[in-house]
Symmetry: C2
Subunit: 333 residues, 2 copies
């Protein structure tokens, strides 16, 4: 009777074969209403026999739920995001949700496109990672009542939950660690001064040193390996020779290491180096990089959990979850 793609059984087939109504079958599946043990068994038998699987499209049409969430990232190729994605996938899938990934290349136009998709497809919730820009893109989600979380922004704003890591604390700890291991002439290779995101790292670093009554030298450079090299060169060229350098991220730290190697310095003997992120390569380079780890996987898990809660009816005020960063001691400091 049901036609679906030949071979695919429909709820109608099940009902017929089991000698019950559509409704009953629907209810043994959803459990939203009591069904006698005998009937349930019979139906379940038939379901197995026919290898019946409900059609999600039809379900969604009625329930307005797709059991799908979207993860929007600027660059899936940046190792931070796969780690985050894995965390999100694991908890989402465990809850029966599928995850749709969108790669925007940081392009605002594609970000908006992603939002359109979410709306059209009836995606139930969205996790958004941009490059530190504002949350305006999420406006349509809020309007449509689609639960949303954003990564990396410190403040939970109107309608969106926020997941981030404690950059300030990480910078603070890095400085503290260095000072406690005897360093006194610390410097920080930061990103361009305009870069709004991740300045917490620098601020935390400065905060500790201020408290310790030690000077904090800072050089702004590009957030690249070359930037790290150049920044270090600048630091060594002008003023006091540093005995420890904290880099804004691991890639930059690699540039610092390059400089040290090129100039025959011993790391960590002559110069201690600390990075941020704990990217995969951090423990593969030589000397292995001491770094402040940002919990990517955990953020992904948290995002999925928050979203799941919201879908479960949690309507409390938007929440901000901040993950502590952890100093990973390796060889470079």
């Amino acid at each position: 009777m049901a036609k679906q793609r030949p071979g695919r059984a429909g709820i109608k087939d099940v009902a017929e074969r089991a000698g019950v109504s559509l409704t009953t079958v629907s209810h043994v599946l959803s459990g939203r209403r009591p069904v006698s043990e005998a009937t349930r068994e019979r139906v379940e038998e038939v379901i197995a026999e026919l290898n019946y699987r409900p059609n999600r499209a039809a379900q969604s049409l009625m329930t307005r739920r797709t059991h799908t969430m979207a993860l929007v990232v600027p660059d899936i190729t940046n190792p931070f995001y796969p780690a985050l994605a894995m965390g999100m996938l694991d908890v989402a899938e465990a809850a029966g949700f599928a995850v749709l990934i969108d790669n925007t290349h940081g392009d605002p136009a594609r970000e908006e496109l992603a939002m359109q998709q979410v709306l059209e497809r009836g995606v139930d919730a969205i996790a958004f990672a941009g490059y530190g820009r504002s949350l305006d893109v999420l406006e349509p989600m809020i309007e449509a009542g689609v639960p949303a979380v954003a990564f990396g922004i410190a403040e939970a704003s109107a309608g969106v939950d926020v997941i981030s890591s404690d950059d300030h604390g990480g910078g603070y700890e890095a400085a503290r660690f260095l000072v406690e291991s005897g360093r006194r002439r610390l410097a920080f290779v930061a990103g361009p001064p305009t870069e709004g995101l991740r300045v917490g790292r620098l601020h935390g670093f400065e905060a500790f040193l201020r408290g310790a009554g030690l000077p904090a030298r800072v050089h702004h450079a590009a957030l690249t390996r070359d930037g790290g090299y150049a920044g270090t060169a600048a630091l060594f060229a002008e003023g006091v020779i540093p005995d420890a350098i904290v880099a804004n991220n691991d890639i930059v730290a690699l540039g610092v290491l390059d400089y040290a190697r090129r100039h025959g310095m011993d790391v960590p003997g002559d110069l201690a180096v600390v990075g941020f992120d704990d990217i995969d390569i951090a423990d593969l380079v030589h000397p292995a990089l001491t770094t402040v780890r940002v919990p990517a996987r955990e953020q992904g898990e948290a995002a999925a959990r928050v979203l799941l809660h919201r879908l479960d009816g949690d309507v409390s005020a938007p929440h901000s979850t901040v993950f502590p960063m952890a100093l990973i001691r390796r060889e470079s400091a």
Copy 2:
């Protein structure tokens, strides 16, 4: 009149407001039947006014198409897959498809679950990457008529297209390059002999040397950094001292580099080292690793394209696409 989630307009609203029938609106959207210029304009106006977006679930119910493909990978955290994913995402999205990513952790149970999902959700096509195991998991897809492509398997088999890279050629080129740059005592640190996948690299390596009348030493070790170290140690311990080592992948090559550094060898002076994959870190270590690049992004793009073709009605015999590998010359050889 239409109720949807308050604020969301339905096709009915558009029809009413434009003073035409549902049918007409549907057709200006799909273009599947001529509509007078005047009507089309009016309808499009209203669509814009109401910010109308068709409901995909309803569409799918009729058309049996979700404009969604699934990408199933064993470990999204392995840098190869994000690159592949990005390629796939870019071409899929350009064609109006969304991509659902599944991370199986290489677990057969989760692989099967992914297949179930694909079936239930009516995903239109699937790209599958396993850990070199058989394609039996894809059986349900073939049965259901869902276009499927598999990565890394050389032979296109019943019902599934295949995308892979030319491991044999890569191994061959690595050996050739080394010999042409004057090396004569080449060795290969391979994975466990049981490992079916990626032996092409070794075979290609051996093939060239055989042709060149040169001996090919091989040591099997774990496919880890430590494995690379141990394999190298073994090679140096027994028999002729090699002047060039090709490692089964970059991580293993890192282990080789470790050994060289530890024993005060100059790379590439005393020992040339070549890896496989060109993972991100390859050009970040010191010395920067010469490696044979496997085209991850390209494979993802190709997969999406093949799938799109199949969905377009291409019913030719399953095809196998093999991408050439490219030797990336850096400092280690």
